[in-house]
């Protein structure tokens, strides 16, 4: 009984994340299948309660780069989402909404379980690659006059596929899964995905942040082992500051794994001056 409760407590954020991810997906599916008007469309652009437009700011940016004038709905929608993540939620899209997150988390879990996860078996890729891909996608959108990443995005293929029919779209998802399982740990989400890169760049000012308490920290390094973006946890055991990097996806894995209450969510209203980056 006690153990049960402990398990739930230890995974409270994981459970909450999965519930959010799955219910949002189900609402979209119901929007198409039964005409529910809670969430219509998909993650590229949607309408909430049949009035509030929402749109993926990165996809919208690609449309702009492709050279077109857009209707106001999508621009307002993109601004709403942009404002939400950059000022409030941080890169929470990646851990609370994105359907690929479930795929890559599963790959990661398998990796650890099967002992595949050995450093020497990793292909080393720079975490900056995603910013190159991001920049490239905007240049290419301009060159070919079409939103370049939207043509190959495994995120939209999976999400759209679950709502409207998958076709061969699952191949892209399997590719991401295998890449994360065999090639590089957190390979797709932590190194390549330009949408994640986009959110990393713009979510620095956000209010909801993980806060570290160096006085409580016992230097077990559980948090660094579990974090999919471990470079953001440079302050562990050193300084009591907020995790300020935009690359942190607010997944709360570090919080769950910390037995000494040295990590918690907090609200950061103004960026601390003395914080330094160590990306």
């Amino acid at each position: 009984m006690n153990e049960n409760r402990n398990f739930l407590y230890k995974h409270r954020y994981l459970i909450a994340r999965r519930i959010v991810q799955v219910s949002i997906l189900l609402l979209y599916i119901a929007g198409n299948a039964y005409g529910w008007k809670i969430l219509q469309g998909n993650l590229s652009s949607s309408r909430l309660f049949d009035v509030i437009p929402l749109a993926d700011p990165y996809a919208t940016l690609q449309l702009f780069a492709a050279g077109t004038i857009l209707a106001t709905d999508v621009i307002v929608g993109a601004l709403i989402i942009f404002a939400f993540y950059s000022l409030i939620g941080g890169r929470a899209f990646c851990s609370w909404i994105c359907p690929i997150n479930m795929v890559t988390d599963f790959a990661n879990w398998l990796r650890v379980k099967t002992g595949l996860h050995k450093d020497e078996w990793q292909l080393r890729i720079s975490r900056k690659t995603r910013y190159w891909i991001l920049g490239l996608s905007l240049i290419l959108s301009f060159v070919v006059a079409a939103p370049a990443f939207e043509f190959i995005s495994p995120i939209s293929m999976l999400h759209r596929g679950l709502i409207f029919g998958m076709g061969f779209g699952f191949a892209a998802v399997v590719a991401v899964f295998l890449f994360d399982l065999f090639v590089t740990k957190n390979g797709w989400c932590g190194h390549l995905c330009p949408l994640g890169g986009f959110y990393s760049l713009v979510t620095k000012p956000s209010v909801i942040r993980v806060k570290h308490d160096a006085d409580k920290c016992t230097l077990c390094m559980n948090c660094k082992n579990v974090c999919p973006e471990k470079q953001v946890l440079w302050m562990i055991g050193k300084e009591s500051v907020f995790v300020s990097s935009g690359e942190c996806i607010n997944c709360a894995r570090c919080i769950e794994v910390c037995n000494d209450d040295a990590l918690n969510f907090g609200l950061r209203y103004k960026p601390n001056k003395e914080e330094k980056e160590n990306a």
Binding site: G31, N32, A33, Y34, G35, Q40, G41, N42, S44, S45, S46, R47, P53, A55, D56, A59, T60, L63, A66, G67, T68, I69, L70, A71, D73, V74, G77, W132, I133, G135, L136, I139, L140, V143, V144, A145, A146, P147, A148, E150, F151, I152, S156, M157, R160, G161, I163, F164, G165, M166, G167, F168, G169, A171, A172
Partner: protein, 294 residues
């Protein structure tokens, strides 16, 4: 000294790294753009009502599927289970017709964009056009399917130009002299978009042909006629307008239409080509010696 060397090495490493990155970006970029340039184009795809021209459409559509959902969930969807509808979102590799080779089928619809295949499910030309207003990006533009009524702008599906129906006179059985007016009766713009034309049948001498003729200036491209056609592969079918229709040069003016006539106003007249021959009058030039000698 040693410090200097270290800085130098660091600089060099950074320089090389950047070059490596650029090289990889160039390689990846060319493959990527090559793929997108291929994948963004389909010759025969038919878009929902109110779609802006294809080039522009690909730039604008964010692939959200709200048009598809509206089409599927409209009240008068003939499929009461609402499993299928006119519009669908292209998924990778879903380009397989129900029956192969029996109708025109787009093979490379850009992934995630809406399209329809009339021989499977045509557009029913809903009067309230539920599919157009939800579009957030302007890829479907309500202005393209609106007309002004009593000083107010109202949606008008008859303005839609999704494509244009084309009749294959060789295989349309009405042109054989058999009686068939399936397409004519199916057309929501009967006697406007398709008219039946009467012609004597010289083979029998006493019967008439009743020939379906499409008026492209009225036809919306809904494809109800294509679905209704009784031949194995439809003898009337919808093509994108840019494929099926010609284009007349600007210098042709319909002198009998006031609006068209306006276009000549302020024109300098036609610049004649001047060559040594054309300087003379045709009579003189045609009667020259050397021409007679030839």
């Amino acid at each position: 000294m040693a410090e200097d060397k270290k800085v130098d090495r660091e600089k060099r490493k950074f320089f090389i790294r950047t070059l490596q990155g650029l090289g990889l970006a160039a390689l990846g970029g060319s493959i990527w753009s090559g793929y997108v340039a291929e994948a963004k184009h389909d010759e025969v795809v038919l878009r929902p009502p109110g779609a802006v021209p294809e080039e522009e459409f690909v730039k604008k559509c964010i692939k959200c599927g709200m048009c598809v959902e509206a089409c599927k969930n409209r009240e008068n969807n003939p499929d009461e289970t609402k499993q299928t509808a006119t519009l669908r979102l292209a998924a990778p590799g879903d380009h397989r017709p129900r029956e192969k080779g029996k109708y025109i089928y787009p093979k490379e619809v850009p992934v995630g964009t809406p399209y329809f295949v009339p021989r499977e499910i045509p557009c029913y030309m809903c009067e309230d056009i539920p599919c157009v207003p939800p579009c957030p990006t302007g890829a479907l533009d309500p202005d393209l399917v609106s007309s002004v009524k009593d000083g107010k702008k109202v949606l008008d599906i008859n303005k839609a130009r999704m494509g244009v129906a084309v009749v294959d006179m060789e295989h349309c059985i009405a042109y054989w002299g058999l009686q068939c007016d399936a397409c004519y009766r199916a057309c929501p713009l009967i006697d406007e978009a398709i008219k039946l034309e009467l012609r004597r049948n010289p083979r029998t001498g006493r019967h008439a042909f009743l020939l379906p003729v499409v008026y492209p200036d009225v036809c919306t491209g809904c494809g109800l006629c294509e679905l209704a056609c009784v031949t194995e592969k439809p003898a009337i079918f919808v093509l994108p307008r840019h494929l099926a229709l010609g284009r007349v040069g600007k210098h042709y003016i319909k002198g009998w239409e006031k609006q068209d006539e306006e276009r000549i106003k302020g024109s300098q007249g036609i610049q004649k080509t001047i060559t040594p021959r054309s300087e003379e009058s045709p009579e003189d030039y045609l009667n020259t010696e050397d021409l007679l000698d030839e």
